[in-house]
Each structure stands twice: as C-alpha cells, then as structure tokens.
C-alpha cells in the first residue's frame, strides 16, 4: 500500500475510532493524560508499521495494544513510577494475538469504555461548565480552540477548566465506571443535561449575533445518537428525538439576512422532513416505554407541531394536555409559561394572558425576556397597543441576543405605526 493511501486510511480511522481507542486506554492506563499521550504514540507508530506490514485486521485492537506498550515504555524511562509500571506490565494484554483480536470485539469491558468515558466526564462532582468542556474535548474529540469559539470563551480558560477537572478526577479518585443500576437515573440525568446544554447553546446561542451555532447542535445530536446506541434508556431516546425535531426547523428559523422567524410564521416546506420522521419514530419509542420523562414529553410537543401542515391547524388541545403532564413532572415557571402560551392558542389570548400575569405577579420570571415578549404578544392580539409596547420594551431591556433584539424592535415599531 502506498504511503499516501496508508495515511488516508489512518486519518479515516482516527476520525471514526480515536475516541473509542482513547476510552479503552483510559481504563487500561488509569489516567487521562497518559492515555492521550499513548493514543498519539499509537497513531504515530501506525504510520510507520502499517506502511510496512499493511493495515491490521482489527486496527482498533492494534492501536489499543500499541498505545498500552508505548505508555509502559514511557513510564519505564521515567523510573519514578515503578509501582505503576509493575501493575501495568502484569496486566494481561488482551489484544496481542489474532485470536485475542477477535475477543476484543466481544469484550464487554471494551464495549462499555465509551459509556465509562461519558459518565466520568459528566460526573456530578465536577464543575458544571467543566463537564461540558471535558465531554466535548474527550468524548467528541473537539480541540479546545473549537470549543472556545463555540462558547465565546478563550481557549486558555477552557484548557484550565479541563485541567482542573482532570485533576479532580485523579485527586478525588472519581472512578472510571458506568454507574450501578440504582444510581443510573440520577447520573444519566446529569449526562443528558450536558448534552442538552450543548444542543441549546448551538440552537439558541445565549449571546452574540447569530441565532444558531450549527456545529454545536450537530455535536450534541451525535452525542445523543451515541447514548441511544450504548444505553437506550427512554429519556436518552426522548432527548435525541427532541434535538432532531428542533433541529429540523433550523433552516426555517432565520431569514436569509439572519432575522428570527417565529414558529407560526415559518415556511414549513423548509423543515427537514427526514429528520422529523426520525424524531417522531423516536418519540413513539420513548413514550411506549411507560417511563415518560420531561425530554420525551417536550419531544412529543415538538412532534405535534411538526405534524401540523400549518400553524393554524396545530392541535393545541393535545399540546396543552402534554404540558399538563410535563407540569406534574417538572413544575417550573418556564414550563408554566409555555403552557400558558399554548392555552392562549386553544382558548384565546385573554385566557393565556391571565395565566402569564399570574406567574409574573407571583414574582417568577421577572427577568426572563421571553416571559415579557410572550405577554406583549398576547396584549398585541388583544389590541391593547400601549400595554403591548410597554411589555416589549421590558423584554428588549432583558434580551441579549442580537436577532431577538431586532425582532422585538420590529414589533415595537409595527405597533407604533399601527
């Protein structure tokens, strides 16, 4: 095989398999940094060896085995870690012979390594921001520069966050394991929350001049697929469905000049039908499990929107019903606000406004721009022009994202002209 061809194969294998190799090396070597070094040593060695001897039948097993040897070599050269070297060298290397390579594929330990990596990166004992950075770095393989750009944070800050998290994993001895069954619901919730935050940051960037940062959403969807693959729990399926259904509307959410378009005004021909079909099938799968959680319910709501050929024929009765169930599981003011908006669509703007006012009068969501813009929209529909303008102005004071601000400004000037 020519050098160029080998290089191409190796690059493809790096893209598809480097995270899986890393996940196994972390388990075998017991340390994130040592495993990353070993991963790079293994790929460097492959460049040489595979050009000479051809690509092995199971490149992943070869890379794990080589990475492990390289790590032992490095440790031997720095004789300080005698105990560690002894422990590593006496481990049985499971992947040296052709027969053991076949075993590699069937090894349950290996199969679980990526889940171990995800659960460790999303451990609740780690700082919440660090969980996101560590997951994107270690599980998705993004460079710190890319993560920094996506979150508008400097690469240095992110690198520090990642280093601190790795130090805590080592110093407090956070184990590299998939949680036991009785811990799983809590621990999975933390993992799903990390994925959801990554998606939201991509879908509805919290600051800045673009409505969406597609790369982060794509990464979150990839993570969601991986989770459903490895651990098909109902809420993991629900979250993937939710992300696919929201992401399906991406093209329709902004005008060519970057302006925000709300759901009722979107051109539904621009919605990604294939993605909606996939999302709807996943919603059905999640709901049939009888363990309905908040992500599955939000996905079901998104699916009802997706099924309506136009905004007017949306089944608001069903949407309010789903919000009622969601309120029982997650009685938060934001869910209550969304339910109020759905009630306004079902029973009229006055009914919705009474519910929104009740939330605000209670002292909740006063700083949430979407509460004020939802209220403004209801007032506008009730032809209470002055009140609507005042509410939009409050929303404008609180909104930080440029396209949202421009949208509110447009509404205010439309009302002034009317």
């Amino acid at each position: 095989m020519s050098d160029a061809l080998v290089r191409e194969r190796i690059e493809a294998i790096y893209r598809s398999d480097s995270r899986r190799v890393l996940a196994t090396l972390i388990r075998l070597l017991g340390d994130f940094d040592r495993a990353e070094e070993a991963l790079h040593d293994a790929f460097a060695a492959a460049l040489d060896a595979w050009a000479r001897e051809g690509v092995p039948d199971n490149p992943r097993a070869w890379l794990v085995s080589t990475g492990r040897f390289k790590a032992i070599d490095r440790l031997r050269r720095t004789a300080r870690f005698d105990a560690v070297v002894d422990a590593l060298a006496t481990q049985v290397d499971p992947f040296v012979s052709p027969e053991s390579e076949a075993r590699f594929e069937e090894d349950d330990e290996v199969a679980d390594d990526r889940l171990r990596l995800i659960f460790t990166c999303c451990h609740p004992a780690l700082n919440a921001d660090a969980r996101i950075a560590l997951t994107l770095r270690e599980v998705c393989g993004l460079e710190t520069e890319e993560i920094g750009k996506a979150f508008l944070t400097s690469a240095t800050t992110l690198a520090q966050r990642i280093v601190r998290a790795k130090n805590k994993i080592r110093d407090a001895r956070i184990p590299y394991q998939v949680p036991a069954r009785h811990e799983l619901p809590d621990r999975l919730a933390t993992v799903l929350h990390v994925v959801y935050l990554v998606f939201n940051e991509g879908y509805s960037a919290s600051t800045g001049d673009a409505v969406t940062r597609a790369d982060l959403s794509a990464e979150a969807i990839r993570l969601g697929r991986l989770l459903v693959d490895l651990l098909p729990e109902p809420e993991a399926i629900g979250l993937l469905a939710l992300m696919l259904l929201h992401d399906a509307r991406r093209q329709a959410r902004t005008s060519p000049d970057g302006e925000l378009i709300l759901l009722d005004a979107q051109d539904r021909a621009l919605w990604n039908r294939a993605q909606i079909d996939e999302g709807r099938a996943l919603v059905e799968r999640a709901l049939s499990s009888r363990q309905v959680g908040p992500y599955s319910l939000q996905a079901a709501i998104a699916a009802v929107h997706a099924e309506a050929p136009d905004a007017a024929s949306t089944d608001w009765r069903q949407i309010v019903g789903l919000y009622d169930v969601l309120m029982r599981l997650e009685p938060t003011p934001v869910v209550e606000l969304n339910r109020a908006v759905a009630v306004a669509m079902r029973d009229g703007a006055a009914a919705g406004l009474a519910l929104v006012d009740a939330i605000l009068d209670r002292g909740d969501l006063g700083d949430y721009h979407l509460a004020h813009s939802a209220r403004a929209d209801l007032l506008r529909r009730l032809s209470r022009k002055a009140d609507a303008i005042a509410a939009y102005e409050r929303a404008l004071k609180l909104a930080t994202q440029e396209p949202e601000r421009r949208f509110i400004e447009r509404r205010i000037s439309e009302l002034r002209r009317a």
């Binding site: 407090a172 949680p179 811990e183």
Partner: protein
C-alpha cells in the same frame, strides 16, 4: 483511599429538637456508625461541641491573636466528622449520603492528601 466527611448542620434547628426527636436522631447516628464499621469503611468519627465553644487562633509576625467563634457567619456549622476508607469517590459519596445529617444539613467529602 481516605476521605474526610465533614458534617454541617444548623445548630439552631438541632437545639430546638424535642428530646425524643434528638434521641431518635442520635440513634440514627449510632446505627450508621455500626453500619460503616461492619462494611469496613470506618476509620474514626467524632461529634463537636457547638460552635459557641470555638476559638480561632492566628499567628502573624510572631504575634498570636485569639478570637472567639469561627470567622464566617454561615447558616450551617461544622458539627462533626467521619474519616472513612473508600474504594473511590462514588463509594465515598454512597457512604456520605447515608450520614443522618445529609438529610438535615450537608456533608462535604474531601480526599486526604498523601505525601510521598
């Protein structure tokens, strides 16, 4: 690995407990301590007298200053500790979550530094 579980509780709440309630709370503690002795986690554990008995000492430039109480006004006060031996943080968290005060106050879990 050794972890120190620092137990924080609101002394005012404990102080207001009726005797029967306090006895039940202490009973839970005795049962918990027995449990972690049996499971092999226990190294040591003590309860502290209330925070009004505390004295804070500082030495600066050879001069010792002594003040009463802890320097930070917090809602919950350090009231005791367990030193445990756990397999890893998850194991330590499992133990800490069963300390009776985890339900009423909070427990801080800290790995011990090892100097080699």
């Amino acid at each position: 690995m050794k972890y120190l579980c620092l137990i924080y509780d609101d002394e005012k709440v404990l102080g207001k407990m009726a005797k029967a309630e306090l006895d039940a709370f202490m009973g839970e503690y005795f049962a918990f301590t027995e449990g972690i002795k049996k499971s092999g986690h226990y190294i040591s554990g003590e309860a502290l007298k209330p925070v009004h008995t505390a004295t804070t000492v500082r030495s600066r430039g050879g001069k010792v200053s002594t003040t009463d109480g802890p320097f930070a006004e917090t809602k919950e006060q350090l009231g005791g500790f367990y030193l445990i031996d756990a397999k890893d943080l998850n194991d330590a968290i499992q133990v800490a979550s069963k300390i009776p005060s985890a339900k009423t106050g909070s427990v801080e879990v800290r790995p011990l530094e090892v100097f080699s």
